[in-house]
């Protein structure tokens, strides 16, 4: 009985993690499906001519790996001077979630 309770509690916690991301700006998220872009850099500025991405992927809400640092995004886009940073968040039923940092610059 206690084991069942522990499993149910773990499942509820895992369910709670589904569709979640933390950022300064978080538009309304969908638990079933989410595919959105939002800013990380607030305030004015231009974008430069290049774009680079880096991602963290989360499978089944259980395992999460990747490098979504701005450094990695800039490196992937060949950017030495970052002007602005956005992010993308994709969620499909909590089975697959992907957080992507998008760097713009020159």
């Amino acid at each position: 009985m206690k084991m069942t309770a522990a499993l149910v509690a773990s499942f509820l916690l895992a369910l709670g993690a589904v569709g979640c991301v933390g950022a300064p700006v978080v538009p309304p998220l969908g638990v079933i499906y989410t595919d959105l872009d939002a800013p990380l850099t607030l305030g004015g500025g231009d974008f430069g001519s290049r774009r680079g991405e880096s991602s963290v992927e989360c499978f089944l809400g259980l395992i999460s790996t990747g490098d979504a640092g701005v450094r990695a995004a800039a490196k992937n886009g060949g950017i030495s001077q970052v002007k602005r940073v956005d992010y993308e968040f994709y969620n499909l039923l909590g089975i697959y979630q992907r957080y992507t940092t998008v760097a713009y610059g020159n």
């Binding site: 206690k2 309770a5 522990a6 149910v8 509690a9 773990s10 509820l12 916690l13 895992a14 369910l15 709670g16 993690a17 589904v18 569709g19 979640c20 991301v21 933390g22 950022a23 300064p24 978080v26 309304p28 998220l29 638990v31 990380l40 850099t41 305030g43 500025g45 880096s54 963290v56 989360c58 499978f59 809400g61 259980l62 395992i63 999460s64 790996t65 990747g66 490098d67 979504a68 640092g69 701005v70 450094r71 990695a72 800039a74 030495s80 001077q81 970052v82 002007k83 602005r84 940073v85 992010y87 969620n91 979630q97 957080y99 940092t101 610059g105």
Partner: protein, 133 residues
Amino acid sequence: MRIAGFMAALLGACVLAGCAVSTRPDLAHRAVAPHRTPVIPPVGFFYSDFKAPLTSGPTGFGSKKGVATSRQIGLPPIPVRGLFAGLDLIGWGDASDKTAAKNGGITRVEHIDYRLEVILFFYRRFTTEVYGD
């Protein structure tokens, strides 16, 4: 029975409602990795090892990199009243940007990322990664 169903739905709604805020004080995140940073990608329930930005303004990166680490050991979430959200026992280390810069020989910090590793609730390692000259 109806009341139990209603309570379960309410609990679920409360847990999910915690998601749409900046620092994620939702129950699941609290149990898995109770860190507070501006950007928090999805955290894996069993294992996480990811990097994310700490600063997100216009920036260069300089030529050097320095890191500083703190660690924490806690208990997993236990379905006992008062302990449900896990128990953070011991946290130690210096993950400050000053120490990271010092470790990398950096005098002018340009950008900061962080790395978070979480293994089964028990062990959490937070690394500040500083870039600059």
